[in-house]
Amino acid sequence: MSVVDSAVERVADSPVVSKDDLPLLLVLPGLFVFLAFMLFPVLYLVYLSFTNAEPATLFQGKEQWVGLANYATVLSDGQFWNSMGVTWLFVATSVALKVLVGLGIGLVVTGNRVRGKRFMRALIIIPLGLPGIFTITIWRGIFSSAEFGLANQFLRMAGLDSIAWLSERWMAFLAYNVTEAWLAYPFMVIITVSALQDVSEELHEAAMIDGAGFFARFLHVTLPSIKRPVLFASILTAAASFQQFLIPYVFNQGGPSRTNELLIVYGYREAFRFQKYGEGAAIMLVAVAVIGVFMMLNVKKGQLAEGVDDA
């Protein structure tokens, strides 16, 4: 028996990889390409965050190891903490808005007395199929200060003065929130509607017999039964809010004068606008770490990856 044969035999006999694992070969190409474009850049990002990389140095291979200097600079920068604060504020306000809007619309399109519910639901989820860049550029037009700006047209109809939406800090922040809510409402409605349809009719009837009014029933029957799915949707949508990039970027680049740069926009601009790749990488990694911890806590509590085990 030659050496090669015995090697093959040993591999075949080894407990780690057996002949039954051949189907692994079908999965590996996909996994490899995925990791090459995802995991490898992550590692490289980590490396960059420890260097003073700039376009001038990096592409000549002259970037230098600076240890934790980038992290120190970033964490002692007021601009970073402003971004962190605005980002969490945005998460809080936009998630609250999204849950309220989703719940409101969900109740409307499942109402007992509403006719044509299915048709309405089909219409309502149309924005789900729209590309993000389309929706966001359109909403930028809505909040535009130009003649066609829809938000200002409504204000004028109501006899109020126009607002320069995108060049005032909190007005721009409000505009982000409204747009984010519109982007996310189909998802929230889908989850809420399916939760509302699972609310037990008998409980409702029992409460009605006991004389509970609409609001009492909503508070004591509906809300407790839909709490879990809505919480689940809120967690996912909170992660989306935290990572929101396109809205501030397209609206006014996180302006006016960098006040509304959400974390990811901040990192992106540090890198590509101000040419500080090292610092940009450090910011992105801090953002990823924060969202990672946030999601980990939620996965532990909310069992997000449910269904893998029984699949």
């Binding site: 780690v16 490289y44 590309p131 860049i133 399916s194 990039f245």
Partner: protein, 358 residues
């Protein structure tokens, strides 16, 4: 092509349901009216129902108003001021398709001269110039770059689909039908990435850009396609795997009893039965490349801009009227929306969209 005839049948079914809806509601209304006349139904109840339904319809209309506004904007030459000194206008004053003509531009196939050398003689073949649309006839002199962006998008999206399908289909089959080492780890990783990894793309952009430049890939549409295919792998593999899980194992067992080799089981049973799932994955991977903005904008130069980047490049250019911008945006988004809504029904089983029924 039974897949196409299936789809056609379903579309026809949808159309029939939609067409019958008014008839059904008239029937309903007549029944209710009869009820009131005979005193079975109290008019107050009917009024309440009508009022609440009207309220719900208003909510739906308000939600979709931005889309209506864009459409009105695109068809009005001036740029959609719904509010003017003369009051509110919900319809363009003089509708025009000029903005769309600006977007699409000329559709002219120029004439080609094909020459063949035949034994010392030369034979010329002059193809005629084919004019489908000459916008200058309609008074539109300059046109948008839509066609160039469109061509760029196609050259990105087509390799994305081909590569992604080659990676996804075998994985999905193996994950659905076979047991092997690390199977549940791969699945768990894919699902986790699907649910939380959406924003990772922008975070990784710095590293991705630096790597692409160093490998000389930046501004390469093919490298961009490979990246899109890679990002499409987790979600679509999971989706197709879930779809394949729904195919009864007994079909395969029967084929195996008849002595079919396993590759034949795949090509004769699994693939034909999962064509709806394959169609969905096809559409999704296509749309990945077709609609992605941030990475494309960072990696591509002006000449290679895809449609989303081209759309963004119009934002804030004050020389472009809002009407033309709306028309451009709609021409980009409307087909995607239709495709997506159609694909929606196929993913209902795989994701938690089931609740939308009924």
């Amino acid at each position: 092509m039974s897949a196409i005839s299936d789809i056609a049948a379903e579309l026809a079914d949808d159309a029939r349901t939609a067409a019958m809806a008014p008839v059904e509601s008239v029937k309903d209304a007549r029944y209710t009216l009869e009820g009131i006349r005979e005193g079975r139904v109290s008019p107050a109840t009917v009024l309440k129902t009508a009022g609440i339904t009207l309220g719900a319809a208003v909510v739906v209309a308000l939600l979709l108003f931005p889309l209506y506004w864009v459409a009105v904007g695109a068809f009005s030459g001036t740029g959609a001021s719904l509010y003017s000194s003369s009051g509110i206008r919900l319809w363009p004053a003089d509708p025009t398709i000029e903005p769309f003509l600006w977007v699409i531009g000329d559709l002219i196939v120029p004439s080609y001269r094909i020459s063949l050398g035949l034994g010392g003689y030369e034979v010329f073949l002059q193809t005629p110039e084919l004019t489908f649309l000459d916008v200058s006839q309609y008074g539109v002199t300059e046109t948008s770059e839509f066609k160039r962006f469109f061509a760029n998008s196609l050259t990105v999206a087509i390799p994305t689909v081909i590569l992604a399908m080659c990676l996804i289909v075998p994985s999905a089959y193996a994950l659905s039908r076979r047991q092997f080492i690390g199977r549940s780890k791969v699945l768990y990783g894919y699902v986790l990435f699907t649910q939380i990894g959406g924003g990772l793309g922008v975070a990784l952009l710095i590293a991705l850009y630096a790597l692409f430049v160093q490998f000389g890939f930046n501004d390469s549409k093919l490298a961009l396609s490979a990246y899109y295919a890679a990002t499409a792998v987790p979600f679509n593999t999971w989706l197709l795997k879930t779809y394949m899980d729904g195919i009864p194992v007994s079909y395969e067992e029967a084929a195996m009893m008849d002595g079919a080799p396993s590759w034949k089981i795949v090509t004769e049973i699994i693939l034909p039965l999962s064509k709806a799932g394959l169609a969905t994955v096809f559409i999704f991977t296509f749309l990945t490349g077709w609609t992605e903005f941030v990475v494309a904008q960072t990696l591509l130069s002006t000449d290679n801009y895809t449609l989303p980047v081209g759309l963004y490049s119009l934002v804030g250019r004050y020389s472009i009227p809002w009407a033309r911008f709306s028309a451009f945006a709609l021409t980009f988004a409307a087909p995607i929306m239709l495709i997506y809504l159609f694909a929606q029904r196929y993913i209902e089983g795989g994701l938690s969209f089931g609740g939308m029924e009924g």
